[in-house]
């Protein structure tokens, strides 16, 4: 559900260390104005992947907002590096990737870099805050295998890709015949309603 910009709900970003990777000066200014407006105070501003790697090696970060950086996608490569070589706990850090444009040729790279979310520019405070809150609240499993390290990419409950089960806990797409008779309404009610029992 979308976050309402008029919500009176509270959140606190004051103590969060946020690493921001953005090569474009105005892009960085926009990001800084958004996150400081949202209450963040501890910011690492990095213009290059090398700067960001240096921060990750020597500091704990609670959130990373990384731009894709260029059509070649160095930002995606930074996230892949973070996931595989960033060292714990930073390698598990929540990551939002921002991109001015996600060309067709880069869609797969963007999806597979290990970011939690990809936010298309222009950035807005409400969308950025919404994604931060989503990450903090979600309980998406983290997957580590040879081909991918990052949050589970299958988090929308749309079933296995192409309808073909591939994981041990995937259910078959065909629903079998019922093995037991349906429960009566009384039985269903009995599962939910609190009842006094005598022992």
């Amino acid at each position: 559900m979308a976050l309402e910009p008029t919500s009176r709900g509270r959140f606190n970003l004051e103590k969060a260390s946020i690493l921001m990777l953005e090569a474009n000066g105005m892009g960085m200014d926009i990001l800084v104005q958004i996150v400081t407006g949202l209450g963040a105070k501890s910011l690492y501003r990095c213009n290059t992947v090398e700067d960001a790697q240096e921060v990750v090696r020597h500091n704990n970060v609670d959130l990373i907002i990384a731009d894709a950086l260029s059509p070649a996608g160095e930002g995606y490569e930074f996230v892949s590096w973070l996931r595989t070589q960033g060292g714990e706990p930073n390698s598990f850090a929540p990551v939002v990737v921002t991109a001015a444009h996600t060309p067709v040729s880069m869609v797969q790279k963007a999806r597979d870099c290990g970011a939690h979310y990809i936010v298309k520019k222009p950035l807005t405070p409400i969308v950025m805050l919404e994604r931060i809150l989503w990450i903090a609240r979600e309980s998406r499993p983290f997957i580590e295998c040879d081909a991918y390290v990052g949050p589970d990419r299958r988090h929308k409950n749309e079933g296995p890709p192409d309808g073909k089960p591939r994981r041990r806990d995937d259910l078959p797409p065909e629903v079998g015949l019922a093995q037991e008779p349906n429960m009566s309404q009384d039985q269903v009610d009995g599962l939910f309603a609190a009842r006094k029992v005598s022992l």
């Binding site: 309402e4 910009p5 008029t6 919500s7 009176r8 709900g9 509270r10 959140f11 606190n12 970003l13 004051e14 103590k15 969060a16 474009n24 105005m26 892009g27 200014d29 926009i30 104005q33 958004i34 996150v35 400081t36 407006g37 949202l38 209450g39 704990n60 609670d62 959130l63 260029s70 059509p71 706990p89 598990f92 850090a93 929540p94 001015a100 444009h101 060309p103 067709v104 520019k121 222009p122 950035l123 405070p125 409400i126 950025m128 805050l129 931060i132 809150l133 990450i135 903090a136 609240r137 309980s139 998406r140 499993p141 983290f142 997957i143 580590e144 295998c145 040879d146 081909a147 589970d152």
Partner: protein, 158 residues
């Protein structure tokens, strides 16, 4: 077969967000919006410079497909993204995205559509000079750009 590790890391961020104090969503979004408004004066000249670059690159177009030139054009178009909306020009923002889409599609398919790109360049200039609240004028322009893009739609092979 490769091994797979599945676990649920605890995010320190989740605990921090729940700490007492902080801001309401409404207040934070308003503050951040006001901060962005403060960037407008800086954004206008960058927007105009960026539009000038996009036009200058288009003026170098020849009659044959030139991937390096399209790549340069694409990068210049990408640099525009974010600036128009900072200046309150949402239609121009959409047109800039449209140009990025078109240039990417042309590069992917190896085609040149000089006229299609030219229409985008003219639209960018027109939308730059329209007042921000000229939605009725902007809408048919954006619709025309969409039709140009659709000529180069890349069909999924999946």
């Amino acid at each position: 077969m490769s091994s797979v590790r599945i676990h649920r890391p605890k995010y320190a961020l989740a605990g921090m967000l729940r700490k007492p104090g902080g801001l309401t969503v409404a207040h934070a979004v308003e503050r951040a919006g006001a901060n962005l408004d403060g960037l407008q004066a800086e954004a206008w000249p960058q927007l105009d410079e960026g539009l000038g670059q996009v036009e200058a690159i288009y003026s170098r177009y020849g009659q044959v497909f030139d991937d390096a030139l399209l790549a340069e054009h694409y990068e210049a178009a990408v640099r525009l993204i974010g600036l128009p909306s900072l200046c309150g020009l949402d239609a121009l923002e959409n047109a800039a995205h449209s140009l990025c889409d078109l240039l990417d599609r042309l590069r992917t398919t190896g085609k040149l559509d000089r006229d299609g790109v030219g229409v985008h360049i003219q639209a960018l200039r027109l939308l730059r000079n329209l007042p921000a609240e000229s939605g009725e004028v902007a809408e048919p322009v954006l619709d025309g750009l969409r039709r140009v893009r659709e000529r180069h739609a890349i069909l999924s092979t999946g």
